[in-house]
């Protein structure tokens, strides 16, 4: 099985703290990490390779330092990595990101499955998976919590829904996005770390992937971010005091006044 994993390098938002006074992000020294959902994607790809043989390729679009994220995937056991990097890619929205990824994937030759994370913890859109699948012309299934079986050009998966889950059958190749429930990602191995250290990351530019420059980066992006601002602080806060009985009484009274209960 040839499996492609989509990996995004993101700022570690768990290290981001909010300054409650000014309501802005404090992000001094925030490290870059592999998007946490993509760790589940990598792990699932490695497990499938262990069961079915084949090869796992990690692909990312990003600035040159995104190569660090790719090296981390190699330390976990990924076989090959590709960095899509070009100034022309900068400022891409999900449409242009997906176009770039799809063009890059088409360069890689035949594959059976593409696995992405459910969403990235910075952009938070969860749109790159489905848009990329569409541009590749392959089936897409979101929120996979379990791959039940893969055989004979078909797979059976469990898809999380708002009120439970669906068991879905799909033809291959396909693109899936995965959620946390699917597995427990492994730690990098010593051998992997050594391999990662000496790795020269292959970089592909806009030319290399035969991309139409009008569809790349900021230029090719239908959406434009026109304003970024901190969320409005929440309304008045009240920390109650008194015995538990008294505190509960006050809350119950207030909730009743607002006809919430």
């Amino acid at each position: 099985m040839n499996i492609i994993v989509l990996v995004k390098q993101v700022p570690d938002t768990s290290e981001v703290k909010i300054n409650r006074e000014t309501n802005t992000l404090i992000r001094d020294g925030v490290p870059s990490i592999i998007n946490p959902f993509d760790m589940f994607a990598i792990e699932e790809a490695l497990r499938l390779r262990e069961q079915h043989g084949g090869k796992v390729t990690a692909v990312t679009m990003g600035p040159p330092q995104a190569a660090d994220a790719l090296k981390e995937t190699v330390a976990m056991g990924v076989d090959e990595v590709v960095l899509l990097s070009d100034r022309a890619f900068a400022g891409a929205d999900t449409w242009a990101t997906s176009y770039t990824l799809a063009q890059g994937i088409k360069k890689l030759g035949a594959y059976d499955l593409v696995i992405a994370g459910k969403q990235a913890i910075d952009g938070d859109t969860a749109q790159v998976g489905p848009e990329t699948a569409d541009m590749l012309g392959i089936p897409f299934i979101a929120y996979i919590k379990k791959i039940e079986a893969i055989a004979g050009g078909k797979m059976t998966v469990e898809r999380m829904m708002d009120d439970g889950y669906d068991v879905v059958e799909s033809s291959l190749p396909a693109l899936i996005t995965v959620v946390k429930e699917i597995n427990q990602p492994r730690l990098p191995s010593l051998k992997g770390k050594m391999k990662a250290k000496n790795l020269k990351v292959t970089t592909l530019t806009a030319k290399d992937i035969n991309a139409d420059e009008n569809l790349l980066g900021l230029k090719g992006s239908p959406t434009k971010v026109v304003r970024i601002f901190p969320p409005a602080p929440r309304g008045q806060r009240e920390i109650l005091s008194g015995t538990i009985e008294q505190q509960v009484d006050q809350v119950v009274k207030k909730l009743k006044e607002q006809s919430l209960v």
């Binding site: 938002t13 938070d124 439970g164 669906d166 879905v168 900021l218 970024i228 901190p230």
Partner: protein, 397 residues
Amino acid sequence: MSVQVISNTCTGCETCVSACPFGAIEMRGGKAFITESCTLCGACIEACEFKAIERTGEEAVAAAKDLSAFKGVWVFAEQHKGGISSVTLELLGEGRKLADKRQTKLSAVFIGQDIKNRAKDLIAHGADVVYLADDPALKDFNDDSYSAVLTTLATLHKPEIILAGATAIGRSFIPKVAAKLYTGLTADCTVLDIDPETGNLHQTRPAFGGNIMATIVSPNHRPQMATVRHKVMKPAPRNDARTGEIIEVKFTQTGDVRTKVIKTVEELGETVNICEANIIVAGGRGMGGVKNFHLLEELAKVLGGAVAATRGAVDEGWIPYSHQVGQTGKTVCPKLYIACGISGAIQHVAGMQSSDVIVAINKDPDAPIFSVATYGIVGDVLEVLPVMIKKFKEIRG
């Protein structure tokens, strides 16, 4: 095109360093320096009070689309087993407002099997037109068939705006439609506004786990597409006197059926889907064990709400993952959120901070949850909850 620092104007104040959501600005030689991590988002341009950061280079070329050909506001009317989802009524409420501002029609796209008799409900709730695709092949949600129906209709009728719920279904297939139509899609919006002149939709959404808000427009592309967060917009009222047109559309399967649902498993059982609940009682590690979760269930029952949890509690195995609220779980927006023994880590807060009223119970007066709580009770949950259950039972009779 790039974002650049005007070196002579830069005072070295460092404001932009923390304003950049991507950590793309460093101080070099006392001046701000923009590194290759820059995504051209523009946040620093606004943050700099000395106007020392600017956008340079060519402007994005306007796509050769004739924008004036696109008219009308559409909503994707989600349903489950024939029942219209609550988010659909919210979309109709919001869509009606946008359509009125732009003096245009509101249409609903209704996809499923045996749903014909519900189409008039969409009209009663504000739609002028319902495009009805009722076919046995559309019984289960399927990314391919749902996106085919919507893409075909949108190509034919050219709406200016398409809204859908930011639900599991909406967030799964709507991006495929945007990909096909080569147009902008904004995820999980909480505020929408339209410029009555240009028709540009200003779409505001939280990103970075709710730590920043971004306003997004698609000035040169139509239709403008957005998924909208549940429970934020006001549902449209019902008015059975309203009239409208129901247009039946045929679904034809083109090519092979590539994916199909074999089985649907409802996990939450008798409890409500937490995304739809008006009242949520949530527990964290401070509940002290699975043995105390019955207190949450009891309170939820008294209030007619649903039980949710932190990742802490889920990781302990006290409750299934489908109940997890937060960045890696679900985003909820109830009228009342009662947080019991929850510390208030930003990844949890990201999923619940837009609740109308938050009550927090924690024994640590310095717990971060109190900074987002409307009312805070400092005390042991195991003492507070039984009292609360008793009091609510009294007032609820």
